[in-house]
């Protein structure tokens, strides 16, 4: 896929998609969205970027190995679940707190971090598969 238009547009498209994926992830609790869908969007973004510009720039942009991102996600979800044990309630019980920031009230919770973990696992696992498959196109 070496068309000039695609190659020029892909980085912008990908960054837009990643931003959108974060938006979808954050709104997930009250509106359609969430970690799983957000992760799929971000993974598509990286896959498209990889098809357009080759795998090396994607890997450089990601900085971490995608599998490491997935591993971090699983770790984050587990820790978010374990946090409830410290409060003496069963594993994975959501803990909520309200934060007042710049006049806005934010509901923060361990559930949110659990969802972040889901997001990272999906992004990491699927991106690493897609990138590995794209890489072989070059050999």
């Amino acid at each position: 896929m070496q068309t000039v238009i695609f190659r020029t547009a892909a980085p912008y498209l990908a960054s837009l998609m990643v931003m959108f994926s974060v938006f979808v992830l954050l709104r997930g609790h009250n509106e359609p969205g969430g970690g799983f869908i957000g992760g799929l969007i971000a993974a598509s973004a990286f896959a498209i970027y990889g098809i357009a510009c080759g795998v090396t720039p994607v890997r450089r942009a990601l900085y971490f190995h995608p599998m490491a991102i997935a591993g971090f996600g699983l770790f984050l979800s587990t820790v978010a679940g374990l946090a409830s044990l410290a409060m003496g309630v069963p594993f994975l019980t959501g803990l909520w707190t309200e934060v007042h920031l710049l006049g806005v009230t934010l509901d923060l919770s361990t559930v949110l971090f659990f969802d972040f973990g889901v997001y990272f696992v999906v992004v990491g696992a699927i991106t690493s598969i897609a990138l590995a498959l794209e890489e072989r196109e070059e050999d």
Binding site: G34, L40, A43, S77, G81, A125, L133
Partner: protein, 781 residues
């Protein structure tokens, strides 16, 4: 006070494992002298359990424990009566000496720390085994002894023989362990008792239960494999591949007695039946004879001792099976005597090997002046093994003969077996203890001299204990033999036997045994040749049978794998989809649950449009000229379905469907281009039609199933619950997401773990296939 004692006992149970954890680091710092520190752990155990002697001798069993898995009624609990206490003292006492001995024996060995760690772990497991009250802890510790034994036998893992012996021991005792587990579960189910103490107080419940015989056979399966009863005896001599401290500790003094322990422990509830009193003496007697006869054949000191261990275990099983009070006393005395003298003799054998460089009895002689202390220890132990006064072995042998009823029939046979067995045991004892030391000095591979204190301390202590315990037999009986025999018999007993010989039939039989033994000893070489000739004539044994069984198993596994995993993708896919079709259709057809024909819904024009798009996509898939077009067309159909989700009010689902479709098209296309298949499908129409049939069955089946599901009255309990509480208790208005991350969070955690593992597996597959696929292209071009 009781609580303090309880925590100390718990500490004692886990202390060997703690010591095992620090052993490697400690050995790196202190080298072989770490043994002095590490031996403190078993010594502490010994002292702690020694403190229970008074209580237990007075008939008070000590129990305690903690809840482990309360939901299953499983506790981590212990039960200390005469039987377990004697075992605990033997394990910790001999264990202390063995750790010291190993310090000298493996001095300078690179892996000495690891060895200490293994042997301490084994000690903890064995300790736990004999002290366990609940069945589950008993089983866990039982298997742990098998596993640590495996590690110890295979300690010298660079040698093929060690690896084979380790594996063999693990397979045989592991299978026995499973049999034991089944047996314990049967007992649990039959009597409702999950603890030994509970079972022992249940009286005749087990004997009267309909599953008595099943429970007995399963428990015997565990006990006989562990205690190396014929025909499962072969793993024990092979286990002599282990370093000598292991042979002395596991394979003579402690672990192999676990089976005997189990039989003795269960004697009050399983014993005293025709089955018990037939099976045990026959297997035990056969093992006794086979063991001693095979021992004559050997020239390696350790192997000679190993086969007499097999024989001794047979004797113990036989005595336990006879079941009379005096037979149990004899078994108890012999068990203690055997642990003392056999442990000592093994250590002597290792000491000779260590100092003289060989343990082949034909190349040894005249070591008495070079190794006087070793000789003393060997002599004392051998006299005990031969059953001469004033040693503990003598008490045991007198009691054995007193236990055998000589009144014809089976009993006369057992008496004859016992006499031959004991005489041959005396022969081997003397051959091991006297041959290397007496006679003219023989040139040995190493210049022999007395070993260091670490090496001779163990055998000498054990040999002397065997003598002192016999001389003060009154005290020994009161604190050790009687409580232990009482626990085995299930009723109080009194033991009077002492080292002073008194005229009786038993004494006469003893004299016959000793005379017979000395006679055979004098013509040992000829006896050995004769046995070798007989064995060569037979030419097959359980050891070879084991290899044949394992080879057969591997061939079977290969054959089965060849059929199921034939490596052809088409076959896997066909089987998978046929199974899906069967799973969908079979229940509906069998139970007549086909859905009623639905009324045709009224749809708007844009809904029709979406349907049309999906249908066009499908048609394009079927008529696509090449695979890439087909994949993209499949995507069209997927997007149409996503639009339908959106139209019918499932935005989350639609959202996910869009993304999944996009990614599947991208990834499928990437995979297809990489697979280097022909661009299109060239198979004959008939083959294609089969696939069309399977695909149709799956697709239509699914549609029919969904129709049926919508026609069944909908139970809205769950949806009501979720929509009511989603915001109230989970602070979220998007029910789907709240379910994913909160209500069913554990499911999601499992799912993302699966995603992660699948990703890793696919990554590995892509990497593995890389070189092979390039080969294919080269071959094609």
């Amino acid at each position: 006070m009781a609580d303090a004692s309880q925590s100390v006992t718990f500490l004692a149970l886990i202390l060997p494992f703690l010591a095992a954890a620090i052993a490697p680091a400690l050995t790196r710092i202190l080298k072989h002298n770490a043994a002095w520190v590490l031996a403190l752990a078993p010594l502490f155990l010994f002292v702690h359990f020694f403190g229970y002697l008074g209580d237990v001798a007075a008939g008070r069993a000590v129990t305690g424990g903690y809840a482990w898995i309360p939901s299953l009624g499983v506790d981590f609990s212990w039960f200390i009566d005469g039987l377990s206490l004697t075992f605990a003292l033997l394990i910790s006492g001999i264990g202390t000496l063995i750790v010291l001995y190993a310090g000298g024996y493996l001095k300078g060995h690179e892996q000495q720390g690891r060895f200490f760690s293994f042997i301490l772990m084994f000690m903890g497991a064995m300790q736990g085994l004999v002290l366990s009250d609940s069945f589950m802890t008993l089983f866990v510790f039982w298997e742990l002894t098998s596993i640590t034994s495996f590690l110890l036998i295979g300690f010298d893992h660079s040698r093929e023989a060690s690896r084979r012996a380790a594996l063999q021991a693990l397979v045989v005792t592991g299978l026995g362990g499973l049999s034991l587990l089944a047996g314990l579960l049967v007992i649990w189910a039959a009597t409702g008792e999950g603890t030994l103490s509970g079972l022992l107080s249940s009286g005749d419940a087990l004997r009267a239960a309909p599953f008595y015989l099943l429970a007995l056979v399963l428990v015997l399966g565990g006990a006989f494999t562990k205690s190396a009863q014929f025909p499962f005896h072969f793993w024990l001599p092979n286990a002599m591949e282990a370093p000598t401290p292991v042979s002395a500790y596991l394979h003579s003094a402690t672990m192999v007695k676990a089976g005997v322990y189990l039989l003795m422990r269960l004697n009050p509830v399983l014993g005293d039946t025709v089955w018990w009193e037939t099976i045990l003496p026959i297997f035990g007697g056969t093992t006794l004879l086979v063991g001693t006869l095979l021992a004559i054949r050997q020239t390696d000191l350790k192997l000679m001792l190993a086969y007499t261990t097999v024989a001794s275990l047979g004797l113990l099983v036989m005595l336990t099976g006879l079941g009379s009070e005096i037979a149990i006393e004899a078994a108890v005395l012999y068990l203690v005597a055997h642990s003392l003298f056999k442990g000592a003799l093994f250590m002597v054998a290792g000491l000779i090997d260590h100092e003289a460089g060989t343990r082949d009895v034909r190349w040894l002689g005249g070591l008495r002046s070079a190794m006087p202390i070793t000789f003393a220890a060997a002599l004392l132990a051998a006299l005990s093994m031969g059953g001469l006064p004033p040693f503990f072995g003598f008490l045991a042998k007198e009691e054995i003969y007193a236990a055998l009823d000589f009144s014809g029939g089976w009993n006369a046979l057992f008496t004859a077996v016992a006499i031959i067995g004991n005489a041959l045991m005396l022969v081997i004892g003397f051959a091991v203890a006297l041959k290397p030391f007496l006679g003219a000095a023989v040139e040995t591979p190493k210049h022999a001299h007395e070993g260091p204190v670490l090496l001779w301390l163990g055998p000498l202590t054990l040999a002397i204990v065997g003598c002192v315990a016999a001389i003060f037999s009154g005290v020994t009986h009161h604190y050790v033999s009687e409580p232990m025999a009482a626990a085995v018999a299930g009723a109080p007993v009194e033991i009077y036997i002492s080292v002073v010989p008194h005229a009786s039939l038993a004494l006469l039989l003893s004299i016959v045994t000793i005379a017979l033994g000395i006679a055979i000893f004098l013509m040992l070489d000829r006896a050995r040749d004769a046995m070798a000739a007989v064995l060569a004539a037979i030419g097959w044994g359980p050891d070879r049978g084991f290899d044949q069984a394992i080879r057969g198993l591997i061939r079977l596994a290969n054959a089965v794998t060849g059929v199921i995993q034939n490596g052809r993708m088409e076959v896997y896919m066909t089987v998978t989809f046929v199974m899906i079709a069967v799973a969908i259709w079979a229940p509906m057809l069998m139970f007549g649950e086909l859905p009623a024909m639905p009324t045709f819904p009224r749809m708007t024009f844009y809904e029709w449009t979406v349907f049309a798009i999906a249908a066009i996509g499908l048609g394009a898939v079927a008529y696509a000229a090449d695979r890439l077009t087909a994949i993209v067309s499949l995507g069209i159909q997927g997007f149409a379905v996503a639009l339908l989700f959106l139209l019918f009010g499932a935005p989350d689902l639609a959202f996910t469907q869009f993304m999944v479709e996009t990614l599947s098209v991208v990834i499928l296309a990437l995979v297809m281009t990489r697979l280097r298949l022909y661009p299109s499908d060239h198979r004959p129409t008939a083959e294609k039609m089969v696939d069309v049939g399977i695909a149709g069955a799956c697709g239509i089946g699914f549609a029919v199933l969904l129709l049926k599901v919508t026609q069944i009255p909908f139970d809205s309990t769950l949806s009501d619950f979720f929509s009511t509480y989603s915001y109230v208790i989970a602070h979220g208005r998007n029910i789907v997401n709240v379910i994913i991350v909160d209500f069913r969070g554990l499911d999601t955690l499992g799912e993302i773990a699966v995603v992660m593992i699948t990703g890793l597996a696919i990554l590995a597959l892509i990497r593995i296939r890389l070189p092979r696929s390039t080969d294919v292209t080269e071959a094609k071009s």
